[in-house]
Symmetry: C2
Subunit: 538 residues, 2 copies
């Protein structure tokens, strides 16, 4: 998994200037999904959906820093009983529910406590990848092992993550911090081999070597190409302004926009990316960071080949959300235009059943929550028996080129913008600062609590320039999609302690335990039952 | 709390034949709510909503026997930190989430494990009150202390709950089991003082004596007047057929009913209660059981008066749902007519602030989920700080006769009928076998997944005989209530690990931890920040 990688910044997804041969080769061996949506275009909630197989409104960790409540099952909880060691190298953006653990008497230092704190993964090399600090202290209280690694390599200081890996050399003794985008094109102060992406790749290989023959599932989770936008040489200069594609934006979008969209356009990051100067400086570096990931995946895949692992390892390449990069007059993510909510998704299944679909593309609507069921299915477990918890569905049939008769008709994504200045400026309470996207492949509908909806027609307007949310001509489409959202919102998402199977088996169970409702006289039930259990002869 | 007590079977609620002076006296000292709805007209889910302060779709224990998932906070979790011992005497109908406890390493015999297993209460005398057995074993695996009590008193056998407390003497050596309603009027074989209601009342008094001066909250939870409909003498003959009110039903209801309603009318219990013979036999005993509860509450209240506890104890009298008793051609509960979903609710607050409202009635729409916030409020805790978990609201302002400017406009109740023959006959999958009621005081709308809605106008049709769910003339009302349901269904119910307050405080927090998004150059942030945290001088 990459972080903040747009769906269209890979050559196999059509980027004309950025060549990603290793990822392309994976796509050539697997299936490339062209309509893969994340459950929230924000790191934390998106990842919690990837890991739990559940919508954001179901698991409740709606934004970065909102703890995933104790008891929500994650990938590790599903795979561990199958004998699969499930580990993490890199980022999760998960906050542990310390209050919940304390209330339930779970010692955070116990094996279970550690797993609960690490989002269900076995600890190996967790590094959430944002080690900033400010007047209120560190953003991430955990000091990464990577900092010690850098110190050992001679990169000095308290926070070499920032001072070396995410800063360039400024004038005189000054640092040119990667937090200031004007420095983007300068080389990071670390050697390339000591930057985050190669480091994490090596840690992944360490894990694989150590894991040996026991089955494993590794979540290799790169922080890049997420900001701070800064790359080590030679990736910092590999691309230039001539490689930057024009922004997907239109003056039409700034005329009377939806009030929430307007506020997002007014954010500092949006104003910055509205400037060509910023795009010309930053986007080439964003591309360089992707190129570095591609190169490192080449290293990893060659290593796996040497270990004989390419024949028996299911590989998924994806991202937690995209990056506007100035499209639609926006920076960052959060809203539901394609550059933000759509992600690359390539799944390479080594099994013979997948042979006939290798190198194909799939246009089915798929969601981040489909991965947990896919992994269970690939391991031979019946994921449908977990459908009282898992809200996604296995992609395995699609990996074999199948076209299931029943597939989802809508993808849903959510955004909790309550921590952004947008909510403050609009005066929206945290519990109401929420957006819901319903996309059916052509239409994209956004329900905004307290505001009018937005609507886009990707067929007549593939660039999503025209918001039809207030256009009377499209009332019927809006009503149809609103009805789909209502149906979704009433889904059974919290009856997680009894499976559908168990519920079916329990139908009519009470009488067999002697609960006889509405019986007038003994002849209403079998005589044997009566005499044996109801003490006819006492 | 009573079980299956209709809202209108108390003299203070207008029953013309059943005198309940002790409950009436409580109402005279408190506020009597005339529009109190439960969150589900079924024991288990209703109680889980009373205890968690959350809607059924939020806590997920949608039917009897569906475990309440580990981590859902209940009354005890809210009150214990305030120094209030929170205990249970009687019924909960809660199943522990043993799988969840095991996954989280919670030892069921530890203090926390015991509380999790007892729905958050400190154990004192749990007795879920239905100790039936059949070919598949016991309905409730826990053998109640009450059985030992009966054995000690000389009532012999494995299951004296059934053989003595819920059965009469039949012909010869045979038992006349209470499970056969034709025996309803016969006296139970136990002496009145050894029947369930007086026994639990004594256990409540034992608890109060033992608790001493430390603050406590006691959930005294009678199983009666729930079936088996059988009462000890003299309550079995205290009322007769002449005291039975005519059934609230109309031939109109049987002409082309909603398909789900039709299936409920076809249940054995409904057919039984459609017969006058059954009503004439059973309802007088149902009334006798209520009379016994009233008498026992008289005993309890006198005891509390002697202990000086009436001046400092908040008392709530309510029920978990009603009983059709043949109304609307139905038996039992499950659907949303007033006899099923509305409950009596009397709250007597001893504080001087409540003086001016004593003896008053309140027509505000109140819900079962309001009790946890009410208890917190009465104890001086700020319940609104728990509004990320608690979905109800404190009734304390209403107890003082206040009319809050903002009050809820809709009450919501839910039913999961997946375990009933209704779902099997209609071919509805467990996840879809759900009904949602939205009531605004006048209109009552029922959303039925996969079926048309139902609609009743309690103003023009107070007896709820005319289902307007398919009548084109009422499309606008249905649309309005469907929109209310959609709004409800999109509520933020699972972000339970961060309060609204914490979310507000975290707005704009990231920059203070050094996360600087969209910064072009150093001048975009305060110089001090830059030099101190971003290593300007390295």
């Amino acid at each position: 998994m990459c972080d903040q990688l747009r769906w269209d910044y890979l050559s196999c997804y059509g980027h004309p200037r950025l060549q990603t041969p290793n990822i392309d080769a994976l796509a050539a061996r697997g299936v490339r999904f062209r309509r893969a949506y994340v459950q929230s275009p924000v790191c934390g909630p998106s990842r919690m959906s990837f890991y739990t197989g559940r919508y954001v409104a179901s698991h409740g960790a709606t934004w970065n820093g909102v703890p995933l409540k104790v008891g929500e099952m994650t990938l590790g909880d599903y795979l561990r009983p199958l004998g699969v060691r499930t580990a993490l190298v890199g980022k999760t953006h998960m906050r542990a529910d310390e209050e919940g653990m304390e209330r339930l008497g779970i010692d955070p230092s116990s094996i279970i406590g550690v797993r609960v704190s690490e989002c269900g993964f076995d600890p190996y090399e967790r590094d959430d990848g944002l080690h900033a600090a400010g007047p209120d202290g560190r953003y991430d209280p955990q000091v990464p092992r990577y900092n010690r690694y850098l110190n050992d390599k001679g990169y000095a200081g308290d926070n070499p993550w920032h001072d070396w890996a995410n800063a360039a050399q400024g004038e005189g003794n000054k640092l040119a911090s990667g937090w200031a985008m004007r420095h983007a094109k300068k080389p990071a102060r670390v050697k390339e081999e000591d930057s985050e992406t190669p480091y994490m790749t090596r840690r992944a290989m360490d894990f694989i070597l150590e894991a040996g023959d026991r089955p494993w599932c590794l979540h290799l989770s790169y922080i890049k190409p997420h900001w701070p936008y800064i790359a080590p040489a030679p990736y910092n200069t590999m691309y230039g302004p001539q490689d930057v594609l024009p922004a997907i934006r239109s003056e039409e979008e700034r005329r009377d926009p939806h009030p929430i969209y307007r506020e997002f356009m007014d954010l500092r990051v949006s104003s910055a990316f509205a400037r060509e100067e910023v795009r010309a400086e930053v986007i080439p570096v964003y591309m360089g960071l992707i190129k570095q990931i591609d190169d490192q995946l080449g290293v990893l895949f060659r290593f796996m080949e040497e270990c004989g692992l390419m024949e028996n390892t299911l590989i998924v390449f994806t991202s937690d959300h995209g990056d506007y990069l100035g499209d639609h007059w926006l920076g960052e993510k959060d809203l539901f235009h394609e550059p933000s909510v759509k992600v690359p998704l390539i799944v390479c299944d080594p099994s013979p059943e997948a042979d006939k679909a290798r190198g194909s593309v799939c246009d089915a609507l798929v969601e981040a929550i489909d991965l947990v069921p896919t992994f269970l299915d690939a391991l031979g477990a019946d994921w449908r028996r977990q459908s009282h918890r898992l809200e996604g569905r296995s992609l395995v049939p699609l990996l074999g080129g199948g076209a299931p008769a029943q597939w989802r008709r809508y993808a849903v994504s959510e955004d909790d913008y309550s921590l952004l200045p947008v909510a403050a400026r609009l005066g929206v309470a945290p519990r109401d600062a929420r957006l819901f996207m319903v996309a059916d492949g052509r239409w994209k509908y956004v329900h905004a609590i307290g505001f009018r909806p937005m609507l886009y027609d990707l067929q007549s307007d593939p660039d999503e320039f025209r918001d039809l949310g207030a256009d009377p001509a499209f009332a019927a489409e809006r009503a149809r999609l609103a009805a789909a959202l209502e149906q979704w919102s009433l889904r059974q998402s919290q009856r997680t302690t009894r499976s559908e199977e168990e519920m079916l088996a329990a139908r009519g169970e009470a009488p067999r335990h002697g609960i006889l409702i509405g019986v007038w006289d003994e002849s209403d039930v079998p005589a044997e039952l009566w005499s044996r259990y109801l003490g006819d002869d006492k």
